[in-house]
């Protein structure tokens, strides 16, 4: 493969720029709908564009398949890749990595702390049922998950994390009245620092109103926000545990 700097999509000839796309317009099937689809394709940069298929979906919608050449050229030097701080791993690789680095199961303790009774978040991450098509952490063979459920007090959480020898503590906070989520989480991280110092487990907070940049303020290692999947959390755990091993506190 030659090291080209400027590229266009490849249909069957270099530089032909051919792409295919499909979409639905809220327009009844007919010539007017096809015209609208062509116009959209042109605005998307497809020139010339061909509506190769259209069919009605009910009386009010039309579905299209469109082929065409896009005029855009990509300069590979302009490509910016955001380096994720950790790779997303499938469950099998998470298991292998934990097995290799820990030689035992990684213990995760999860809870909703304070008066918060919304276990939706923590359950979506921990329950085997999972979230967004991904199985929860319970599914991972090399993770031992202890889900303490809702309304767990901070002292109880610290105590339980110690008896379970937790490697990581996951705390979920949904209720945000009077900044309860922030205050609760700060109380939690302070309690762990006081009780266990540098030997504290990894502290992870999650909830729809958290901003990932708040981790230092909250005194936790990582904050996960809305839409986080179990796989992301599991991959992070592998990453964070390996970092800890490299730099013993």
């Amino acid at each position: 493969m030659t090291d080209k700097r400027h590229v266009r999509p490849y249909g069957d000839t270099s530089g032909d720029g051919m792409v295919q796309t499909s979409f639905t317009l809220p327009v009844p099937h007919g010539p007017r709908a096809e015209g609208a689809a062509l116009l959209l394709a042109q605005k998307m940069g497809m020139e010339p564009a061909m509506v190769v298929h259209s069919n009605p979906i009910g009386p009010d919608f039309t579905f299209f398949v469109v082929y065409g050449s896009v005029r855009h050229i990509i300069d590979l030097d302009e490509v910016e890749v955001v380096e994720r701080e950790y790779p997303l791993l499938p469950p099998s690789e998470v298991n292998t990595a934990i097995k290799r680095s820990m030689r035992r199961k990684l213990v995760v303790v999860g809870a909703c702390i304070g008066t918060d009774a919304h276990t939706v978040g923590i359950d979506a991450i921990l329950n085997i049922k999972g979230f967004a098509g991904e199985k929860g952490l319970e599914y991972y063979r090399e993770l031992r998950v202890v889900n303490l459920g809702a309304q767990v007090s901070v002292p109880d959480l610290v105590k339980r994390a110690r008896t379970e020898k937790a490697d990581a503590v996951l705390v979920s906070q949904v209720v945000t009245q009077r900044d309860a989520h922030i205050l609760n989480t700060q109380e939690m991280s302070a309690a762990f620092r006081e009780a266990m110092g540098a030997r504290r487990p990894l502290l992870i907070a999650g909830g729809p109103r958290f901003d990932p940049r708040m981790a230092p303020d909250l005194g936790v290692d990582r904050v996960f926000s809305r839409g986080t999947t179990p796989g992301e959390v599991a991959s992070y755990l592998v990453h964070a545990i390996s970092l800890r091993k490299e730099q013993p506190a």
Partner: protein, 530 residues
């Protein structure tokens, strides 16, 4: 329902099949005994819902608390639930001379009611009043069943098998109605509304029409009513009875079963072990709630759908194939025991073998055919690939085509329509349309192929089916030896270890006393309404 119009193809040994059923019954027996000797907060709440309590306390600081939760929690606090909630509640109703259970609930919330277990003539009177009130609720369920039969007689069932089952899940019941109506017009026979993430772990049923769910729409009585009413309209328009499905699972399974019966839903997801294994709900709680909810479904003529597909998404679909058979046999036994006949038994299974496995399609046919022949009269629910849908929508569309073909070829009864955008986005309008076109093509082109399909007697399909049945019998024998509760505690199913004294909702389980009174249980057992 002419499901039996085919000769058996697998030549299963009737003695082995009998052994499997016998072992399933033996494994289930101790659990049935536990279910009969315990009650739960949710069973008691379901009973009061049948007796007519509705509405929620909207002044509570924690948000709307259903009145039924208020009452049952207070009874539990004052005198315990071991004798059932009906005695204390109907005694208090008479004592305070209140007109309705809702008034009693308001008085309860105001702290004006002290509950106690009535004795002597008070007890007799309370039991009689409770039986009358609950009987009224059951008669509503009976009327709905008759109404469904009438509408089916008038409008007709779907023209062919399998019935086409489509999911909507917008979070907003009003949007669900729009999507459901479009889906029904495009050929869907059954509309399922997926619930909001996490509802199964709520120990109360939310109230009213809801518009903000997480990846699904809350199951509420009002949402049930809205969807059923909308589908009644669409049924008339399309000239066939469109069925509506929801979920009687999680901590409120008995109550949701009652609400489904009251609002004439037609099918309910209802698995004997799903909540235990995949939601970490206390095993005893689940088995007690299960039995009551299945009795209600039997009464309401609701087809249950069991959740065997879940075993295959968490474990390998080839290695774990026999766990599906075991679960189907257990689900069948628990259902029969609770009064559900075969024609209401939508046992589940799924097309989840890794497509990269050689002969994967033949293995799927073997598993699907095994279920078909083990349960010839049950409306089996055939569920599409999800685990191996990668985001490559083109490949996904092909895989769904094979799934549809397997369903047609093995005579499945209910076909859950697979989406090529599974694991990518919530389906676009066009995804549903394409998915239905895929189903239509396969059924039109190959629907009759079932007639010509005769797997070779010593071929891979037949051998594989025999092997899976053999493994299922072995596993059932181990479960009988261990005890079902121990097997669950040790992680036999779906790899999850669930001890009987742990899990969510354990605090809501109460052993029945010798004086336990529950007219709903009595009326359901007796099959009468007065």
């Amino acid at each position: 329902m002419p499901l039996r119009n085919r000769a058996p193809l697998l030549d299963l040994d009737p003695a082995v099949v009998d052994t499997a059923r016998h072992l399933a019954a033996k494994a289930a027996a101790p659990v049935v005994e536990i279910a009969r000797s315990h009650t739960t907060v949710s069973v008691e709440r379901a009973t009061l819902r049948l007796a007519g309590i509705t509405g929620a306390d909207s002044t509570h600081r924690a948000g709307d608390v259903p009145w039924v939760n208020r009452v049952v929690d207070t009874v539990a606090e004052h005198c315990g639930l071991q004798d059932g909630v009906c005695g204390p509640v109907f005694h208090a109703l008479a004592e305070h001379n209140l007109g309705s259970l809702t008034e009693l609930a308001e008085a309860t919330a105001a702290g004006q009611v002290t509950y106690r277990v009535p004795t002597g003539r008070d007890a007799t009177r309370a039991a009689k009043a409770a039986r009358t009130a609950v009987g009224k609720g059951l008669r509503l369920v009976d009327r709905n069943r008759a109404q469904r039969d009438k509408m089916i007689a008038r409008l007709g069932d779907p023209p062919r098998r399998p019935w086409i089952y489509l999911i909507v899940a917008t979070g907003d019941i009003d949007e669900d109605v729009v999507q459901a109506a479009n889906a029904a017009r495009a050929g869907a026979d059954i509309i399922a509304v997926i619930r909001s993430t996490g509802q199964s772990l709520l120990d109360y049923v939310p109230e009213g029409a809801t518009h903000h769910g997480f990846a699904g729409t809350y199951a509420t009585q009002e949402n049930f009513r809205i969807m059923r009413a909308a589908m009644d309209e669409v049924s008339k328009e399309v000239g066939r009875y469109v069925r509506v499905t929801n979920y009687a699972s999680g901590l409120c399974m008995p109550e949701i079963a009652v609400l489904a019966g009251m609002q004439r839903l037609d099918m309910m997801l209802n698995d004997s072990m799903y909540g235990i294994l995949f939601r970490d709900i206390n095993p005893i709680r689940t088995f007690v709630d299960q039995r009551f909810s299945r009795q209600v479904h039997a009464r309401a003529g609701i087809i249950i759908n069991t959740g065997e597909d879940n075993y295959l998404t968490t474990a390998d679909a080839v290695d774990a194939a026999h766990t599906v058979t075991v679960s189907q046999l257990l689900n069948e036994h628990f259902a029969h025991e609770a009064g559900l006949p075969d024609e209401l038994l939508g046992l589940g299974h799924a097309f989840e073998i890794n497509p990269k496995v050689p002969e994967s399609f033949r293995l799927e046919l073997a598993h699907a055919l095994l279920a078909r022949e083990l349960f010839p009269d049950a409306p089996l629910k055939w569920m599409p690939p999800t685990k191996h849908m990668t985001g490559d929508v083109f490949n996904g569309y092909l895989l769904d085509g094979f799934f549809n073909l397997a369903g047609a070829l093995t005579g499945q009864s209910i076909l859950l329509v697979g989406m090529m955008t599974e694991a990518v986005v919530t389906p676009f309008l066009s995804d549903r349309d394409l998915a239905l076109a895929n189903v239509r093509y396969v059924l039109d082109a190959a629907g009759g192929l079932v007639e010509d399909f005769r797997p070779a007697p010593d071929g891979l399909i037949v051998k594989r089916a025999h092997q899976v049945l053999g493994e299922a019998v072995d596993l059932l024998a181990r479960i009988v030896d261990d005890g079902l509760l121990n097997a669950i505690a040790e992680g036999t199913f779906g790899l999850m270890k669930r001890p009987p004294d742990q899990g969510k909702g354990a605090a809501g389980v109460v052993a029945r006393s010798d004086d336990y009174v529950n007219p709903a249980v009595d009326l359901l057992d007796e099959g009468v309404a007065r």
